[in-house]
């Protein structure tokens, strides 16, 4: 008898990872489920069942799905690691006037690091998640990560830091399905989370928004040092004081507290003097970006024109990708892009293939 291949599947209690686990069971794998407990729920203000991915009710859901599928299930406590690798950099990024992307760090340091180790430790051949992405072989037999069939749900943007060595060990069972197909499958499979809301936003932030979260985690003394003035570009006119640069993100036009006859946008945050610069939308556009701390899953030719995604819900735009150092690139967009935001990722694609990416820094 051939030994069944064993898969560790990361289960959040949501629809996608529940479907992933069920599909693997149906495909004949020996499946082991695990949930990472990443945040202390007792301090979390998220209403249970509100469709986020970290409340304790979700752990219970994941366990119930595992029980339904008759697979073993474990809760892995990753709170300390999550705080160090995800929460702390998230807070620092906001205080540095950037707009962070915590899901990438969670993938880099928890899902595809901690869980890869668990995969080995539990004698599993593969690690599976409910990400909308696909692992495919190209003509030369090389494994790569490709965007999911469902273009709208594609989550490869969050996967650019994946270590190429682990790619052959990854399974994304829902990557070839659309979201409605995934829901229908769960329904048919009798999985109780089939109708659960999609998780939106950042799992640990909760209903009160990220400003509130930052205020609950950072001392008032530190936050007070982030106060400054709102100034108008290009004439430097002072529009008024603001309560801290962490309240602002590039391209933001709502909640500026300005009474002005024309619509103004945050176009720049200057951390040297905490000035939030506002101006007309045209100042938001730029035709280039600097990228640091890059990771490549597959090689990229210098000066190659690639599809580049500069935020999650963004259609890749063509840009010339110019190597400027070991892990740095300069991007020259063929068409100017709106709100190229420091702290977000620039992720490179050749067609549907995810090649890698890096972090957008100040121009």
């Amino acid at each position: 008898m051939i030994k069944k291949k064993r898969v560790l599947v990361a289960m959040s209690g949501g629809v996608d990872s529940s479907a992933a686990a069920a599909l693997l069971v149906d495909q004949g794998y020996d499946v082991v489920g695990a949930t990472m407990q990443v945040w202390d729920y007792s301090e979390c203000d998220i209403t249970e069942g509100s469709g986020t991915c970290c409340s304790s009710i979700d752990v219970d859901d994941a366990r119930a799905v595992a029980d339904h599928l008759k697979i073993p299930f474990y809760v892995l406590n990753c709170e300390a690691k999550f705080k160090a690798a995800v929460i702390d950099p998230f807070l620092k990024s906001y205080l540095d006037g950037q707009t962070p992307l915590p899901c990438v760090n969670c993938n880099t340091y928890l899902k595809f690091d901690h869980l890869v180790r668990k995969m080995k430790e539990l004698d599993c051949d593969y690690l599976a998640t409910g990400h909308y992405a696909q692992v495919l072989k190209n003509e030369s037999g090389e494994m790569g990560i490709y965007t999911s069939t469902d273009d709208w749900k594609d989550q490869t943007y969050f996967l650019f830091t994946l270590d190429p060595k682990i790619v052959p060990h990854l399974l994304f069972p829902v990557g070839g399905m659309t979201k409605p197909e995934v829901r229908a499958y769960c329904e048919q499979r009798g999985i109780q989370t089939a109708k659960k809301k999609d998780s939106t936003g950042i799992c640990f932030v909760g209903n009160k928004g990220y400003d509130h979260f930052i205020e609950s985690q950072v001392s008032k003394e530190i936050l007070d040092t982030k106060k400054g003035l709102i100034k108008r570009l290009p004439n430097g006119e002072v529009m008024g004081p603001h309560q801290g640069i962490h309240h602002y993100t590039l391209g933001q036009s709502k909640g500026l507290g300005l009474t002005h006859h024309e619509k103004l946008f945050v176009v720049k945050v200057d951390i040297t003097d905490n000035t939030v610069w506002v101006g007309e939308e045209k100042y938001l556009f730029s035709d280039q970006a600097q990228v640091v701390d890059s990771h490549l899953i597959n090689s990229v030719q210098d000066q190659e024109v690639l599809g580049v995604k500069i935020r999650y819900q963004h259609k890749p735009s063509m840009a010339k990708v110019i190597k400027t150092g070991d892990t740095t690139f300069k991007l020259e967009f063929l068409e100017p892009q709106r709100a190229v935001t420091p702290g977000q990722a620039a992720v490179f694609y050749r067609g549907r293939q995810l090649l890698g990416g890096g972090w957008i820094t100040k121009n």
């Binding site: 690091d113 180790r117 080995k120 430790e121 270590d163």
Partner: protein
């Protein structure tokens, strides 16, 4: 998951004894009356409780009236500590060991916050209580001493009889959480000389949700749960008739307890000897002399106990890393830390606790699987640092 399931975690809880299961099925229809009712349905239920109390009193060599049914040992422990604190005003000091169950430790913490002075007896690496410390803190001010009969993790037994005598010399009361002794060793409460003792039915092949509090006739007793006149007004609330009945059935198995103790001790010693021989850098936690016959607590160097547990679980073997209550918690076992083990050692802890239904074949299969898993995990650790640069 493996189709064959082997349960080796009897210090956490036990499966139902087959005889208990059969009686339970028979009584399912007849037990339903409220024991306080005068009619036939009530009388039937009342008699089931009476018989159980009778059996348990014989098992523990005490009078039936000295036994109060509770929901379990946690309630019994809370009852003794909290009611004495509320009612004994002239003595304000309490003593417990540093490695009690949380239902004693947390209750002690609670009364400490309300003004009691609590002394915690330290424990050595070998699992022995510091009796000199105990002697020094005992005084005319001591209200109550609470020390467990046997530790849930190491299985180490404590000198309860002697410690109770020492307490009584100072006029203090003595309570023992005897949960882990039940069904594993002979527990003669009269001989132990304690004032109070706590038990849970589910550690003794009976149903969950039923327990006992032994209160010596001459010792002060106060109700904790007020309500009806159940348990002679010492514990309000309609009785858990089926749970009590199953508990009482098990109490008749005095002979089996003795036989199983001997059998399990041999099995455990065989397992210990094999594991220590086949897995290098492995040690028994606590004293290997004075302990429960079914318990083996180990520290396996370089292994994360929780990861090992998951591996064994996938193969169908249920074991524990320390107490069940602390599972899912990244903190290593407080018992092992209190014994002076390092965090790293405590992280590598594994507890195997045998029960009446375990066979030699099961133990041999377990040893094989444990050896394989440890070898593989130890290899990954070195391999991984190379491969994934973690």
């Amino acid at each position: 998951m493996n189709s064959r399931l082997v349960y080796l975690d009897h210090n956490a809880t036990t499966p139902l004894h087959p005889l208990v299961k059969n009686s339970l099925i028979q009584e399912l229809d007849s037990h339903f009356g409220n024991p306080s009712s005068i009619h036939w349905a009530g009388r039937k239920a009342k008699n089931l409780i009476r018989n159980a109390r009778q059996n348990l009193s014989e098992l523990f060599s005490v009078s039936p009236l000295e036994l109060i049914f509770t929901s379990g040992a946690s309630e019994s422990n809370n009852t003794v500590i909290q009611t004495l604190f509320l009612n004994l005003k002239n003595r304000t000091e309490y003593i417990c060991s540093a490695i009690e169950h949380p239902s004693v430790l947390k209750t002690m913490q609670h009364i400490e916050s309300l003004g009691a002075l609590v002394h915690r007896i330290p424990v050595s690496r070998e699992g022995q209580l510091d009796l000199e410390f105990y002697q020094n803190v005992l005084s005319e001010k001591t209200a109550l001493v609470s020390v467990m009969l046997a530790n849930n993790e190491t299985g180490n037994l404590f000198p309860i009889k002697r410690m109770a005598e020492m307490a009584h010399e100072k006029g203090a009361l003595f309570h023992t959480d005897a949960v882990q002794g039940l069904g594993k060793i002979d527990v003669n409460l009269k001989d132990l000389g304690v004032d109070y003792a706590s038990f849970s039915a589910h550690k003794f092949y009976a149903l969950k949700g039923s327990g006992l509090l032994y209160c010596k006739k001459s010792s002060p007793q106060f109700p904790f749960l007020f309500g009806g006149a159940q348990e002679r007004s010492r514990r309000g609330g309609t009785e858990n008739v089926l749970g009590i009945m199953t508990f009482g059935l098990m109490a008749k198995m005095k002979k089996e307890i003795t036989e199983e103790s001997l059998r399990l001790e041999k099995l455990r010693d065989h397992m210990q000897q094999q594991i220590l021989k086949l897995i290098p850098n492995t040690r028994v936690t606590g004293s290997s002399k004075n302990r429960l016959p079914n318990t083996l607590s180990l520290v396996i160097d370089g292994i994360d106990g929780e990861t090992l547990l998951m591996n064994l679980d996938i193969k169908g073997f249920a074991v524990s890393t320390g107490a069940a209550c602390s599972s899912g918690n990244p903190e290593p076992s407080p018992v092992l830390l209190a014994m002076g083990l390092s965090r790293a050692e405590a992280q590598g802890s594994l507890r195997v606790s045998l029960g009446w239904q375990n066979t030699e074949d099961e133990i041999n299969d377990f040893i094989k699987e444990l050896v394989l898993s440890v070898q593989r995990l130890r290899l990954i650790d070195t391999e991984f640092q190379k491969d994934f640069e973690l």
